[in-house]
């Protein structure tokens, strides 16, 4: 595990970061042990997240994208401390929350909230909407200005539901409305950071757009910071300020939205972009799509060095022997690749000069 270049990369970003960092993640790691046999001896580990370093600035939307199994949800769950990392650190507003206890985490939950993917599974079917959205106040013993009921009804209005919905049950609502209930619950305690795990992927297109607009309005109105986890690249482009692309537990590329979509540098990002079906029949023949062969390898036994080398069309020998560091190849654009695409003429960063096989 090469920790040195990763740390170097992360400090780079802190330097260039600008603005206030609400969240600083360094070398984050989560390995789930695999236990076998009578004694439940540990025989291996699912390396779900393996060395992620990034920062989240106040008021921005950072999106984590990647295929299923790349560790984006695990990362999100570690940020909200629903999972405890096995390595690295998470600083929230300068405070180390990597290993703090559940009890100490509780006050912080006011500031960090989560929106879940499945609007059916994340609401208790036996509770009314009022109870669900009011639960954060009860659990945190927060006294509201008026009654809790009044506050909950205001929240319901804020997310575009009617205050009369207070006494209804989740099954009486459609998917889009349920997702709004989940958003109202997340907003109840006026959090600073919201981790949204696939907030719209379970919804129909027309409803998806409503919820995306709602999330954007709330961000402007309440000054929220979002970490969004998504796999739909068109939705991600619409919602995010910055985008981090993950592959098999590692970050392969992170950049502002526009440079990432206009000049993706990592071959994996390029392949992802070219795979998105475009709703334009004229492009059917014109596009030269990069066809990735096979599936994502298992995170139990990931490929050596650059984890993408088994599916990469540019891979050379070095890719399987030396892990490429996440280096800043353009301002604010960090890429972990030995042979990046769309490289503009820039002085080669110091980190890359170290690698023996400079092309």
């Amino acid at each position: 595990m090469t920790s040195a270049p990763t740390n170097a990369a992360s400090s780079q970003s802190n330097a260039s970061g600008g603005g206030e960092d609400i969240l600083v993640v360094t070398d984050l790691q989560k390995h789930f042990p695999i236990r076998r046999g009578l004694l439940q001896r540990k025989v291996g580990a699912v390396q779900a997240v393996d060395g992620m370093s990034f920062t989240v600035r106040k008021g921005e939307t950072l999106s984590l994208v990647g295929e299923s199994g790349c560790g984006k949800t695990t990362t999100g769950r570690m940020l909200t401390r629903l999972l405890e990392p096995t390595g690295g650190t998470i600083l929230f507003e300068g405070r180390d929350i990597t290993h703090i206890s559940m009890g100490k985490m509780r006050p912080l939950r006011r500031d960090v909230q989560m929106i879940f993917q499945d609007p059916y599974g994340s609401l208790n079917p036996r509770h009314t909407v009022g109870t669900i959205v009011g639960a954060p106040f009860r659990l945190q013993n927060v006294k509201t200005e008026h009654s809790t009921k009044k506050t909950v009804q205001e929240l319901l209005e804020l997310v575009g539901l009617s205050p009369e919905h207070y006494n209804r049950y989740p099954h009486e609502f459609s998917g889009g409305q349920r997702q709004r209930i989940g958003i109202a619950r997340a907003l109840a305690l006026k959090p600073k950071l919201i981790v949204a795990d696939e907030p719209v992927s379970a919804l129909d297109v027309s409803i998806q757009a409503q919820v995306i607009n709602l999330l954007e309005d709330l961000q402007d109105e309440l000054g929220l910071t979002y970490v969004t986890i998504a796999h739909d690249l068109s939705v991600v482009r619409h919602m995010s300020d910055r985008v981090a692309v993950m592959y098999l537990g590692k970050m392969v590329e992170i950049a502002d939205r526009t440079p990432l979509y206009e000049r993706p540098m990592h071959p994996y990002t390029v392949a992802l972009m070219s795979a998105v079906p475009i709703p334009d029949t004229g492009r059917r023949t014109k596009r030269d799509r990069i066809r990735l062969e096979g599936d994502v390898p298992s995170p139990i036994n990931p490929p050596s060095a650059c984890r993408f080398h088994t599916r990469c069309w540019k891979a050379k020998e070095i890719c399987s022997t030396i892990e490429p560091p996440l280096a800043e190849l353009a301002p604010g654009h960090r890429v972990a690749c030995h042979f990046p695409e769309n490289l503009i003429d820039l002085p080669v960063p110091a980190v890359r000069a170290d690698s023996p096989a400079a092309p």
Binding site: G175, S206, A209, Q210, S274, D295
Partner: protein, 356 residues
């Protein structure tokens, strides 16, 4: 108001689509429930020719999956009230004996489901399931069928088909399972293939592989394909013609090119406007369709889309009272909308087209 010939399913010339390989005439699928009758499909007609790919697009609850299950005869007896006609090479499938449909299913028509893990039997090997399907329709020995199964798995791009044939569905990844399912569906060389959200459960890179596979196989087998999806990007990749459904009815039918370059129905506009698109400048705001899809028990009167339609006032109340006919407004372009063609053209040119 006179009902259109389309709704009666009379003259084939006024149904969307050409040819007579598959003709759906005035299909209605109603489910009686305690709360009332759920009108999942309510008067749907279209034609499909061999070698053609039809994309059916709509939100959840628009009746697209129910339509495909009716064509395949997969509604359990007694649950649904089905009327109308589904003619496969002139042979009416609605009301035919279950034994007759069973003979056609697999052999003449096959289906790919959204979730390959639940559509395959976890207890039997992938090979066993393909062999079984093949031997039901072909009088061959197990060895021949097994060879055919391996051959099919190889055709759909599964590496080492000779050994993978003996593995169980859980040993396959999501994309491989979908490939295996396609192999199973194509094992008897069906003329009609229905793919119901074939790529929704898959990652975008795998989705691209599967879409390429379906396209290649269709060209090879010259079969008729119906692809059902909510993703307009997917139909743009595959479909020759597109049928947009709303609340169990057809809203618009045209060539894929027309649907994307000159759509005429306000619902189609709404669908196109509410998707963020990678091939366009990033819009500051998306333009969602207001409201939610209607309940299929209390489908709005008149045009089912009118409560969500921004242009409903332009028609002096006709949208609330009269069900719009599904008419051919230009060659091979069908539309169910009360807007006058001048209004439609004006709204499209001024309000919608610049925004897309």
């Amino acid at each position: 108001m006179t009902t259109s010939p389309t709704l009666e399913g009379g003259d084939p010339a006024v149904r969307p689509g050409i040819g007579g390989f598959l003709q759906v005439k005035d299909l209605r699928v109603h489910f009686p429930t305690d709360d009332g009758v759920v009108k999942s499909v309510d008067g749907l007609s279209f034609n499909l020719e061999l070698g053609e790919t039809l994309g059916i697009v709509g939100e959840s609850g628009s009746g697209k999956s129910v339509t495909s299950l009716s064509i395949m005869g997969l509604h359990p007896p007694g649950t649904a009230k089905i009327s109308g006609q589904v003619l496969l090479k002139g042979d009416n499938l609605i009301g035919a004996s279950r034994e007759h449909i069973r003979k056609l299913r697999g052999k003449n028509m096959a289906m790919i489901f959204q979730d390959p893990l639940s559509a395959m039997h976890p207890y039997y090997t992938v090979g066993h399931q393909i062999i079984e399907a093949y031997r039901v329709h072909n009088n061959v020995s197990k060895q021949v069928a097994r060879k055919h199964a391996i051959d099919m798995l190889g055709r759909v791009g599964i590496p080492q088909p000779g050994s993978r044939v003996d593995e169980y569905p859980h040993q396959f990844s999501g994309g491989m399972r979908q490939r295996a399912m396609i192999a199973m569906a194509l094992s008897c060389d069906p003329e009609l293939l229905i793919a119901d959200e074939p790529t929704t459960a898959l990652d975008v890179t795998v989705q691209a592989q599967i879409l390429d596979l379906i396209r290649d196989l269709q060209q090879e087998f010259n079969s008729a394909v119906i692809i059902i999806t909510h993703d307009l990007g997917v139909v743009a990749e595959l479909a020759d013609n597109i049928l947009v459904m709303y609340a169990g009815r057809a809203a618009e039918y045209a060539t894929a090119h027309e649907i994307f370059t000159a759509p005429q129905h306000p619902y189609t506009w709404g669908l196109l406007g509410s998707m963020p698109r990678l091939d366009r400048e990033r819009a500051e705001r998306l333009r969602p369709i207001p409201g939610t899809p209607p309940s299929l028990i209390n489908v709005p009167t008149g045009c089912p889309f009118h409560p969500r339609c921004v242009y409903a006032e332009l028609n002096g109340g006709a949208c609330e009272t009269d069900r719009p006919e599904f008419l051919e407004i230009s060659p091979r372009h069908f539309l169910a909308c009360h807007l006058s063609s001048q209004d439609r053209q004006r709204v499209w040119e001024n309000d919608i087209k610049p925004m897309l």
